[in-house]
């Protein structure tokens, strides 16, 4: 008998030996446990639970965003009401009247006068003695 034939014979014997055995029966009581567990209502799978949580979180986020948007709109409307009041010009002093005569600028209240005050203060006063040029 050649080596190849010998191997084939050994394989056949091995297959026969494997085939002589059968699969072990499942443990007693497993059938009852399976049927009992199947009779109970099945718990939700994890994916289903995760999906429901995700939907709930989305709804809450959308409601919160809507509420935030309403709040922001109300605040902006209140600010707009304040901003649209007509700006009454300050009574002019003789200096500001001289440099910036009765021109109402569409600027926030006080802005123009501050700039002008600074500008005026930087100018030489009429009472100060004139400096000699360097």
């Amino acid at each position: 008998m050649t080596r190849r034939q010998n191997n084939a014979a050994e394989l056949a014997d091995l297959e026969a030996a494997l085939g002589a055995c059968t699969v072990a029966p499942p443990p007693a009581g497993l059938r009852e446990r399976v049927l009992e567990r199947a009779a109970k209502p099945a718990p939700l799978p994890r994916s289903e639970i995760a999906l429901r949580w995700a939907i709930a979180a989305l709804v809450v986020t959308m409601a919160w965003a809507d509420w935030q948007e309403r709040q922001t709109a109300e605040r902006m409307a209140a600010v707009a009401r304040v901003e649209t009041r007509p700006i009454e010009p300050k009574p002019h002093t003789w200096k500001t009247a001289l440099l910036n005569p009765r021109v109402t600028l569409p600027l926030p209240e006080g802005y123009a006068s501050v700039r002008i005050a600074r500008r005026v203060s930087s100018l030489p006063s009429l009472n100060e003695p004139r400096r000699k040029p360097i």
């Binding site: 050994e10 394989l11 085939g19 497993l30």
Partner: protein
């Protein structure tokens, strides 16, 4: 028991019949791969409860059960990192083969289980499916998602490896 191709509502009687037909096979398959009786029982319970809770009976229940069992087994192996430990516990804890307790029957069973334990999981899976589940290479290929030729060659490699292991064991004093 042969299940009809027509889809039915999976009630308790249907599930009991399916368990009687395939429960033992699925258990042996799970025990051979997991090497642990408790995990194998969990897999069987999980698979049968899932097929019952699905609401509609699968078109091919046996294929569905084995595919679901395989997914569950490999999921457990990955999750618990049992891949290496399973092989060690295989012979100590779980006997997935059954031999008549005649002269040398139990010894032969232990010997063959040890030989199967020595195989890599993929080869062991193929031997179990081919020899003990009586599946064709086409069915095995469909279950494992590999070509039929690959399944056949993998089975040949497994048997050759098992033969060498047996010869080595017999040569030992």
């Amino acid at each position: 028991m042969r299940f009809s191709v027509k889809r039915v509502e999976p009630d308790a009687d249907w599930l009991a019949g399916l368990y009687d037909a395939c429960g033992g096979q699925v258990y042996a398959y799970a025990a051979a791969l997991l090497g642990n009786a408790v995990d194998a029982e969990d897999v069987v319970q999980e698979v049968f409860v899932r097929v019952h809770a699905g609401g509609r009976a699968p078109r091919h229940p046996r294929s569905y059960l084995f595919r679901a069992a395989r997914n569950e087994i490999y999921s457990r192996l990955r999750r618990k990192r049992l891949r290496l430990r399973a092989a060690d516990r295989l012979t100590r804890e779980t006997h997935f083969l059954h031999a008549p307790a005649e002269t040398g029957g139990l010894e032969r069973r232990d010997f063959l289980e040890a030989g199967l334990r020595s195989l890599p999981p993929k080869q062991r899976e193929l031997v179990v499916l081919k020899v003990y589940q009586a599946m064709t290479f086409q069915e095995i290929a469909s279950l494992l998602g590999i070509p039929a030729n690959t399944a056949a060659s993998r089975y040949r490699y497994a048997m050759e490896r098992l033969r060498k292991w047996c010869n080595e064991q017999e040569a030992k004093p």
